[in-house]
């Protein structure tokens, strides 16, 4: 048993599993039995996964827990819709799709840059609440800006959607995002994010321009989420303030990341995928109670799995040590689920991640 689960074996298993999943996803649209609605569901899942990855860049790597992340999705979606729809009376001419999405994402990044300069000075819960406030603020701004946004009625985009194509686009973008986040983690910029999370004053004192670093990653995260917002608006063919600025997207991103492993590269991907299918299964089987069951399970996960699924397979996890039957010296023996443990997401896990293929995406 001891030698069965070495690090390299685990990495290999994860890599092979990931590769199989990716190949399966690429082949899926080619099968005749795959319907457009299945593809759209999968596209939504990929969107959720992308949001988790983006949220993790600020929430996991940098330690700034953003309760309003969905605002960047909403801005991306709305700018795209305004540019593409005939119903916006200020901008009646229709723009092509790709420029609209890019402009939407750039607007999200620009707003994030300005808002971040103010809110990223706050720490801990103050930042979280400020971002939640900004999210609600933006939703209402969109609702009352009738000439531009058509108010609460919403905007319709002419549907000319090719589901398999968009599924592929999003799949490739998510893979790129995973590779990016894995690569980022190994650079000095990535290291400075971790340094800020662990100890911001110390990071500043060691010469890191913490304000610039935080604003940069925050803006990038907003840009990337804005892209997915724009793509969603186009595929959904309709936006209104409540579905474009939907708080569940933020909650999902946080829950998915926590479930998978906060501050790890693969955690958000794994966690969000599990969460997405968990909800589908619960919804099918316990329609009336599915949110209760889901909430209960997530509570249990945070209590008993503070380092997420990825943390289970770290070298210093109690599970791995029990399976291997060897006791390594570790401060994590009898790991307690204190707040500290939750906060200080395991760097050990990250270094393990860095060694893994960036393709071990989904199960």
């Amino acid at each position: 048993m001891k030698n069965l689960l070495t690090r390299s074996t685990l990495n290999r298993v994860a890599g092979v599993t990931g590769a199989i999943v990716v190949v399966y996803l690429f082949v899926l649209p080619l099968r005749e039995s795959t319907t457009n609605s299945t593809l759209f569901t999968l596209t939504l899942m990929l969107t959720s996964v992308a949001l988790s990855i983006n949220w993790n860049l600020t929430g996991g790597f940098t330690g700034y827990v953003d309760f309003g992340h969905a605002v960047w999705f909403g801005i991306g979606a709305y700018v795209t819709a305004i540019l593409m729809s005939e119903q916006s009376s200020l901008l009646p001419q229709q723009w092509p799709l790709v420029p609209s999405i890019i402009i939407g994402a750039l607007v999200a990044a620009l707003v994030a840059n300005l808002v971040g300069r103010m809110t990223l000075r706050l720490s801990g819960p103050y930042f979280s609440i400020a971002m939640l406030g900004f999210f609600v603020f933006m939703r209402e701004v969109v609702r009352v800006s009738r000439p531009l946004t058509n108010g609460g009625v919403g905007l319709t985009i002419e549907p000319t959607i090719n589901r398999p194509l968009w599924f592929y686009v999003q799949l490739v973008l998510v893979l790129v995002l995973i590779a990016f986040s894995w690569w980022l983690r190994s650079t000095r910029f990535g290291a400075s994010l971790i340094a800020i999370r662990e100890d911001e004053t110390g990071a500043e004192m060691r010469g890191i321009n913490t304000v610039r670093t935080k604003v940069t990653i925050f803006s990038f995260s907003a840009f990337s989420t804005g892209v997915f917002g724009g793509m969603w608006a186009y595929q959904n063919t309709f936006v209104d303030p409540d579905i474009a600025f939907w708080e569940i997207r933020t909650i999902d991103a946080i829950m998915g990341t926590m479930l998978g492993g906060l501050g790890t590269v693969i955690g958000p991907v794994l966690g969000m995928t599990v969460l997405f299918w968990l909800r589908e299964i619960l919804w099918e089987n316990f329609l009336d109670f599915h949110l209760i069951v889901q909430g209960f399970m997530l509570g249990a996960i945070v209590l008993y799995l503070p380092k997420g699924i990825v943390g289970l397979f770290a070298d210093d996890s109690p599970l791995m040590q029990r399976i291997r039957g060897s006791k390594q010296t570790s401060a994590f023996d009898g790991m307690s689920s204190t707040l500290d443990d939750i906060n200080q997401a395991s760097e050990a896990v990250n270094s393990v991640e860095a060694g893994e293929s960036n393709e071990d995406v989904t199960i």
Partner: protein
């Protein structure tokens, strides 16, 4: 010779409380200066002001000929000032070597090299410092698994990664066992003598200050009480009164 670090008329208020009251302090190149005083006398606050972690209400700070009064801490670090903290600030989940690599000369980070990995030279430098600070065999241990004293050494190593011209040490010896204290002391002396690194240190261990420092500044209630050679300071009646209490026994422990 112009001082490496010179602060004049530093005032830091917290509401009605004046934590640092019109303090002048300077450190000459290659000098080791001790900063002592009872608990609450403003030593750490002064450190925070000097390293720009805290804003000052009045006064001016010059580092290596540059006015850093309005600089951000990272700019101060780029100009050659490094510090350690009273409360340990090492990255617990990273290994010793990773902690060191993280602390490399951020001043050199430009947009061009920002997205590169730590290079070979960084790792070699980190390894040399780790060996110098007797942490060689703990290289790949998580910093969280280190003892308090070893973490102090690691923090010192992290401060040294940026090739500072002056290091501010905030109670580098608290919680360190006596045999390790001697080791740390000798390392600091080597750094000072052979590499010309200046030190400003806050310390409760008077013998430590006496052995290392050529000059001592005493703070009490946020103001400078005395300044001079360690031997003279130890005989100063006002200092003995403030620091040791009237009966001459040490009245406070950090």
């Amino acid at each position: 010779m112009a001082p490496i670090l010179e602060a004049k008329g530093i005032v830091r208020r917290f509401g009605g409380l004046v934590a640092v009251n019109d303090v002048d302090i300077h450190v000459n190149p290659g000098e080791m200066v001790g900063l002592i005083g009872p608990n609450g006398s403003g030593k750490t606050t002064l450190f925070d002001c000097l390293s720009r972690v805290q804003d000052i209400n009045e006064g001016q700070i010059v580092l290596n000929g540059h006015d850093i009064t309005n600089c951000a801490p990272h700019e101060v670090a780029h100009r050659g000032l490094a510090r350690t903290f009273q409360i340990l600030r090492v990255y617990q989940d990273l290994t010793v070597i990773e902690n060191m690599e993280l602390s490399i000369q951020w001043g050199e980070v430009t947009t061009r090299n920002l997205f590169r990995r730590p290079d070979k030279a960084t790792t070699q430098k980190a390894d040399r410092l780790i060996d110098f600070l007797l942490l060689g065999r703990l290289r790949d241990q998580r910093a969280g698994n280190l003892s308090g004293g070893q973490r102090r050494l690691l923090e010192l190593g992290m401060a040294l990664m940026s090739d500072p011209s002056i290091v501010l040490l905030d109670e580098a010896m608290s919680g360190v066992n006596p045999s390790l204290v001697e080791e740390i002391k000798s390392r600091i002396q080597i750094l000072n003598r052979d590499l010309g690194v200046s030190f400003l240190l806050v310390e409760h261990d008077i013998r430590f200050v006496q052995d290392l420092c050529s000059r001592v500044v005493v703070l009490n209630f946020g103001a400078k009480l005395a300044e001079g050679q360690p031997s003279a300071i130890m005989e100063n009646a006002a200092v003995i009164e403030a620091y040791f209490g009237a009966d001459g026994t040490e009245s406070d422990e950090a």
